[in-house]
Assembly symmetry: C2
Homo-oligomer: 398 residues x 2
C-alpha cells in the first residue's frame, strides 16, 4: 500500500485506549493538489471548521494531514479551534512547511477537550516513523468502533503512466453523511500519484462523494466531523488531467475507490449483520428517488425486519409513503434481489415471501421499490438494526 | 368508564391470537357529531381511505365504529376496500342505521387480507354484547404490541351540565403520527356526551391532535392506519358549544385527554424504559423548534444514549445540527430537567454530567435545548431505543 509522493506513520498516543494506534500523519514530499468535502451538519467540529477555512483560501495545496481517533474535538468552542491551530503549527515546523499546508482531522467522543499534550508528546515519534508503506497504520489509527480497516486501491494507465488511487477510511456509527464542498464521523483520505488539476479535483470529489459516501447510512445520524480529502502528488508523470476522456476515466476509478470504501463502512456498521442496497426506481425525479430510498434505508422498522430476515414489505411501503412525495399505491412493486413480493400495490403471497426470506438470510441483498411513476432511480446503501447497535451506543461513553 | 349515549362491546374473533379480544364495536344511541383525522402517509390502509371519504361527504354524523386489531387491512388493494364496505354494511343492518354512518378502523400486520369471515362470524355476539360499560373491553381489543390499555377521562361543567370526555387509544410501535384532517398505527377514539357543533368538533380535533398525538414519536415510523375519532352525543344537555369561552374550556379538556393518551402511548412504546420530553426553545420560528425537537427525538444515537442513561449532549447537538436550520454553536445550551450540561456551546464538565445522569436514571425526564436565537419553542415526546425494540420488531411477523 504505497502511493508515490506520500509517506505516513501512526503511533499510540494514548488518546483513548493506551494500547492502540490513535494518531496518524500523512505527509507529501512537497505541497500537493488537495480537495476536501466536509459535513453539512450545522454543528461542526473544530478541525472541520478549520479545514473548511483552509481549503477555501484559494490555496488548495497541502503537505500534511494529522488525524486522531478517540476524540472528535467537536463542541469544544474556541479552545478546540486553538488546539487545531497549535497542532497544525507544530506539525508544519517539524516537517518544514507553512502552517496552512497542514490539515487536521479528528473522530471520537464529542464535547471533550482534545488531549493536546498527549498529541504533542507523540509528535516526534510520529514524524520519525514516516515511511512509504505507513498508510496501512494510519488506516488502523483512525478507527473507533470499527471492527476492520477500510482500504481500496485502483490503478489506471494514462498514456505510459501507471497511476495509483489509494483510499483509506473509517466509519461505523453516526453514519449518514451529507458532505458538501468546501465545507461526514466518517473519514476518508484518498491519495493518488496522478497529476490532476486542482479545479478538476474539487469538482470530481463533490460528484463522487455524492454518489458514494453521501449515498450510505448506518443510523441516519450525520456526524459533526465527516471529512473526505483527496491528495494528488502528480508523481506518476501523466499529462495533467482536467476533464475530457482522461477525466472521465480518472473519475470512474475514483468513484470505484470511494464506493468500495463506502460499502466497507456500511458493512462494518455498528452491530450490522446485513449489507442492503435500497434501490428506488420509477420516480418522477432523481431527487425524489433518493429521498424515498433514504427514508426506507433509515426506517427502524425496515432495518429491524432486515435483521429478522423478514420480507416485511408493508414496512417498506409505509416508509416510502412517509417521505413526502405523492405515490400511487396501486403502482408500487417490491423486489428482494430479483424476487417480486409486491406487484401493483398488492402482496404476492407466502410462497414469494418464503423465497425472499431465503435471499435475506444471506449477508448482502438488494431491495428494489418501483414507484411506477417515471424514469428516475437512486440507490442508498444501508445495514440492519440489531441489538448490538443498541448495546454499542448505550455504552459508548461509559 | 361510561359516556352517556354510547354502548360498546368487544369479542375474541380469532384474528390473530385465538385467546384475546381483537374486535370492538362502539355504537351511539343515534347518529352523533363526528370528526376524524387520519394518517398523512401516502400509503393508506383501506379503512383509512374509506374513513376519509365517509367523513368528507359533508355528513359528519356517525352511529357506529367497528375496530379490529391483528390485521391492518393495509396494502390490500381493492379487495381491502370492498371488505371495509361489506363489514360496515353488515354492521349498519344489525344496528339499524345507514351504511355511511358506520366507520371501520384496523391495526396490525400490513399486507394480509382481512379475515372477513371471522369478523362476520363474530358480529352477532359483538352486537349482542353492547353495553354502557363496554368501552374498557374495546380499549383492550385494539391493542397490538401494547403492554397496557390506554384510557383518559375528564369531566367539565358547562352551566348545570356535567359533561364527560373519555378517550381510549392504542399504540406502541410505528409511532410518529402526522395526522391531518379530513384525512396515526395509533388509534384513539374519544367519546363525549357534551353537545358540540360539528364544525367546532373538526376544528379543535385537528388543533388538539397537532399538540398531542402529532407531537409524539416512538420510532419515527408513520403508520398507514393512524386514526383519531371524536364522537359527541350531546346527551349532557349543555348549550351547544361552538367556540367562545366554553369552546376554550372544552378544547383544553379535550387536549388533556389527548395528551394523556399520547403520553401513555410513548410510555408503552415498544421496548421503551424511559419517557422523555424533548423541548427546543429559543427558535426563530415555532416550526423550526418543532422540526429540530423531532430530529433529536428520532435520533438513534440520542435514543440509545437515553437507554444508556448517558447525558451524551454531543449527540443532541449533532442531531439538532442535522435538522436543516442554521444554528450558532456558541449559543447552544442543554439541560436535563433543570441541570445545565452545555452552556454557550460548551460542555460544563463531569460534575454536571454526573448530576444529569442521576436524573436520567429515572423513568421520566426532560431534555431542553436552547438555541438562543429567538422566542419560539416546541415539545416532542419520545422514548429510549432498547434491545427489546429491536427484538420485538425483528420477530413481529414470524
Amino acid at each position: 500500500m504505497k502511493v508515490r509522493g506520500f509517506k505516513a506513520s501512526a503511533v499510540k498516543a494514548g488518546i483513548k485506549h493506551p494500547d492502540r494506534l490513535d494518531l496518524g500523519l500523512i505527509v507529501s514530499d512537497f505541497p500537493v493538489v488537495a480537495a476536501g468535502v466536509f459535513t453539512s451538519n450545522e454543528v461542526k467540529a473544530a478541525p472541520v471548521i478549520a479545514g473548511i477555512k483552509r481549503l477555501k483560501n484559494g490555496k488548495p495545496f497541502l503537505k500534511a494531514l494529522i488525524v486522531n481517533s478517540g476524540n472528535a474535538n467537536a463542541c469544544t468552542g474556541k479552545h478546540g479551534l486553538m488546539d487545531v491551530m497549535e497542532l497544525c503549527d507544530l506539525v508544519s515546523r517539524k516537517i518544514d512547511c507553512r502552517p496552512d499546508e497542514v490539515l487536521m482531522s479528528s473522530t471520537g467522543v464529542i464535547g471533550r477537550p482534545l488531549p493536546v499534550q498527549k498529541i504533542k508528546d507523540a509528535l516526534p515519534s510520529l514524524v520519525q516513523g514516516l515511511r512509504e508503506d505507513g498508510l496501512d497504520d494510519v488506516a488502523a489509527a483512525i478507527l473507533t468502533t470499527d471492527l476492520v480497516k477500510k482500504t481500496a486501491l485502483r490503478e489506471v494507465e494514462f498514456g505510459n503512466s501507471l497511476t495509483t488511487i489509494l483510499g483509506i477510511a473509517k466509519g461505523s456509527g453516526m453514519i449518514a453523511p451529507g458532505m458538501i464542498s468546501p465545507q461526514a464521523t466518517m473519514l476518508a483520505f484518498i491519495m493518488t500519484d496522478a497529476s490532476i488539476h486542482s479545479d478538476f479535483a474539487r469538482q470530481i470529489l463533490q460528484k463522487t462523494t455524492d454518489s458514494a459516501f453521501n449515498a450510505i447510512t448506518v443510523d441516519g445520524c450525520m456526524s459533526t466531523n465527516d471529512t473526505v480529502l483527496l491528495l494528488a502528488s502528480g508523481l506518476a508523470g501523466n499529462e495533467t488531467i482536467n476533464g475530457g476522456d482522461n477525466g472521465k476515466i480518472f473519475e470512474e476509478a475514483l468513484h470505484e475507490v470511494m464506493s468500495s470504501l463506502a460499502s466497507q463502512i456500511v458493512k462494518d456498521g455498528e452491530g450490522a449483520t446485513k449489507l442492503v442496497t435500497v434501490k428506488v426506481k420509477g420516480a418522477r425525479r432523481r431527487e425524489d428517488a433518493r429521498i424515498i430510498a433514504r427514508a426506507i434505508a433509515d426506517s427502524l422498522l425496515v432495518k429491524t425486519a432486515f435483521f429478522g430476515e423478514d420480507p416485511n414489505w408493508g414496512r417498506i411501503l409505509s416508509a416510502a409513503g412517509q417521505a413526502g412525495f405523492p405515490l400511487i399505491q396501486g403502482l408500487l412493486s417490491v423486489f428482494i434481489n430479483n424476487i417480486p413480493i409486491v406487484r401493483m400495490g398488492e402482496g404476492l403471497g407466502d410462497e414469494a415471501e418464503a423465497d425472499a426470506k431465503k435471499v435475506m438470510e444471506g449477508s448482502e441483498f438488494t431491495v428494489t421499490l418501483d414507484l411506477g411513476l417515471g424514469e428516475f432511480e437512486a440507490k442508498v446503501l444501508t445495514c440492519d438494526l440489531t441489538c448490538d447497535y443498541v448495546k454499542i451506543n448505550a455504552d459508548y461513553r461509559t
